[in-house]
């Protein structure tokens, strides 16, 4: 078997809230192959989002290791980790998290501001990303002028515009109705199947999980079960 894209070994994450210490992840190990579409599932408090944050380099483990594409991201400094996120990961959130004052195309352009691309090159890539998500004609619209499904597709365009290795999605359809959710999930599936993007998605929704190629169940901070769809 090929080297996994994401390799997690004996991962621990402990939070301290006041006097209380909470062990969210307890020695979790997991491999994710390039090109997989993983749905992370489990009850509330099982550690899904914490694991997603650690895979995306948003947080640091208390112990254990996280390697992505051969890089030990748990050992990177704050600046290097930010740079790593900019080039390797695209994020999709439940509530889209678009900047309200910027148009759709300016929102999508944000990750490219961190590159050395010229403005023309940036706008060209923004145009392609918006085309991929089917929103080229809404480029000049502000988030408040978009529906929930459209806003989430803009967020997906922002996640893919810098051509990252990995997409991490935290409940990407949690705020959408069934039909719109299906559209967004189909789009993610297309990105996975046709564009080869590796996707890790946290979801509570079994229907959403059906779009993934693999399902990983977490319980009390440990791997409970894995299933191939």
């Amino acid at each position: 078997m090929a080297n996994p894209l994401v390799s997690i070994r004996d991962l621990h994450k402990t939070y301290t809230r006041g006097a209380e210490t909470v062990d969210v992840l307890r020695g979790l190990s997991l491999d994710i192959q390039a090109g997989e579409f993983i749905a992370l599932m489990g009850p509330s408090g099982s550690g899904k989002t914490t694991l997603l944050n650690l895979i995306g380099g948003l947080d640091r483990p208390s112990a254990g290791s996280v390697s992505v594409d051969g890089a030990r991201i748990d050992q990177l400094g704050s600046g290097a980790l930010a740079q790593w996120r900019a080039t390797h990961v695209g994020f999709v959130f439940q509530f889209y998290n678009l900047l309200p004052m910027l148009s759709a195309e300016r929102n999508v352009e944000l990750p490219l501001l961190l590159t050395h691309l010229s403005k023309a090159e940036r706008m060209k890539r923004v145009g392609i990303a918006l085309q991929v998500v089917g929103l080229a004609e809404r480029a000049k619209h502000k988030p408040s002028e978009l529906s929930g499904g459209q806003a989430q597709r803009v967020a997906i365009a922002r996640a893919i515009v810098a051509d990252p290795t990995l997409l991490v999605c935290d409940e990407p359809t949690g705020d959408l109705d069934r039909r719109t959710a299906d559209e967004v999930l189909t789009l993610l599936q297309t990105l996975n199947r046709e564009h080869g993007k590796t996707i890790v998605m946290v979801t509570h929704d079994p229907k959403a999980a059906e779009y993934a190629s693999h399902r990983v169940f977490l319980d009390k901070g440990q791997l409970a079960e894995t299933a191939v769809h």
Binding site: A82, R85, F91, L110
Partner: protein, 385 residues
């Protein structure tokens, strides 16, 4: 430059708040521009003072006259190159609000003493020849619509004439200054001492003060000491100072303008610091999730810090430029109506200091929220903690 749309959009997230904050900063810098221009106008008198000129006044008071007989004695003192004299006339043209200074002077020696007064040769000749002749600053002629040949009546308040309380002068010259920015210091009327001395009811043979040019400015202190020494035991002991020191003490009679200006501006900027600081803190607090998103996308701590500082800088510097711009436009017409302030305006130095102050203000009010934004924990901020 590529981050400008990001900074600009963050600035206008709450439009009314930004407009009001900008207006407050602009008004503060308008006030700064106006007050500094006034302060500079006062200090201009000190700047334009001749390095080689001394002023001899009575030891007891500037209002105490000196005898005309001192003239030859001063001329005879070692190191003295030239001497002239002047007196305060203190008359009124039509209305007290039309205040400007009038000085009876010895035309030839006075104009020689002040080469910065630029007067056409034929007008100078006319001034020297015409007993009742007077010359005025161009700014005064412009304000009152005077032209050569006009007869200007001045109401006496100190020195009544033998013919009555109204003196009449023939306008024979209109002068300007070599340095246009010094016009305010020479906004005056000069007329012949000889006519004044003969026509006044009392006070013949006295003058207000003497002005001395020394052969070498390095010797000013020695010459000043020698003059005062000469008259120490006379009935009119003197006090001699450089023209610069004389002008400084004259300004100080009105109060320490610089201190007053700085105190007012200090209070204004202190208040502004809290007002703008609060706005910036509030603005960043409201945008914590958005800043967390930027950090998620790969904006490092330093980049986020610089973005928030840039926002603060754009807010403060733009508003300051607006305020200074308004001051620059407003000052000339105001100055034209104020006696002694002709040519007053916001100079390049005041403008540059203003912009630097705005940058400093931006740093002071922007740094605390910028540091907060830089230290933001992405996970906590996204979770709304």
């Amino acid at each position: 430059m590529k981050y400008l749309p990001l900074v600009w959009s963050a600035l206008w997230r709450k439009r009314p708040r930004t407009i009001f904050t900008m207006a407050s900063i602009a008004v503060a810098f308008l006030l700064y521009g106006l007050l500094y221009a006034v302060n500079n106008a006062f200090n201009k008198g000190v700047e334009v003072a001749g390095a080689d000129r001394l002023v001899v006044i009575s030891k007891y008071s500037l209002t105490q006259p000196l005898p005309y007989s001192f003239l030859n004695e001063i001329r005879g003192i070692d190191g003295v190159a030239a001497v002239t004299w002047a007196s305060w006339f203190g008359g009124i043209y039509q209305d007290e609000r039309n205040f400007f200074a009038q000085f009876p002077v010895d035309a030839a020696s006075y104009l020689e003493m002040y080469p910065e007064i630029v007067l056409p040769a034929e007008q100078k000749d006319a001034f020297l020849r015409t007993r009742t002749g007077a010359i005025v600053a161009k700014t005064l002629a412009d304000r009152f619509g005077w032209k050569i040949g006009d007869r200007i009546p001045i109401q006496a308040t100190i020195w009544p004439a033998k013919t009555g309380n109204t003196w009449e002068f023939d306008l024979v010259g209109i002068f300007d200054t070599a340095d246009p920015s010094a016009r305010g210091q020479y906004e005056m009327m000069l007329f012949n001492h000889e006519y004044f001395d003969e026509a006044r009811v009392f006070g013949q043979g006295i003058v207000g003060w003497y002005i001395v040019r020394t052969r070498d400015p390095e010797q000013n202190a020695t010459v000043a000491k020698a003059i005062d020494e000469r008259f120490r035991n006379s009935t009119n002991p003197t006090k001699t100072d450089s023209e610069k020191a004389f002008n400084q003490s004259f300004i100080k009679q009105m109060g320490d303008i610089g201190l007053i200006v700085k105190s007012i501006l200090g209070a204004v900027f202190f208040t502004l610091l809290f007002l703008t600081g609060n706005t910036m803190m509030q603005s960043v607090r409201e945008r914590v999730p958005e800043l967390a998103v930027l950090k998620t996308l790969g904006f490092g701590n330093t980049r986020v810090l610089v973005l928030v500082l840039a926002e603060s800088a754009v807010l403060c510097v733009l508003a300051a430029l607006l305020g200074l711009g308004i001051a620059t436009v407003l000052l000339p017409p105001i100055a034209a109506k104020l006696p002694g302030f002709a040519g007053m305006g916001v100079d390049a130095q005041t403008f540059a200091i203003g912009v630097a102050l705005a940058a400093l203000l931006a740093l002071a009010v922007g740094l605390p929220p910028a540091l907060r934004a830089a230290r933001l924990s992405i996970v906590d901020a996204l979770a709304g903690r």
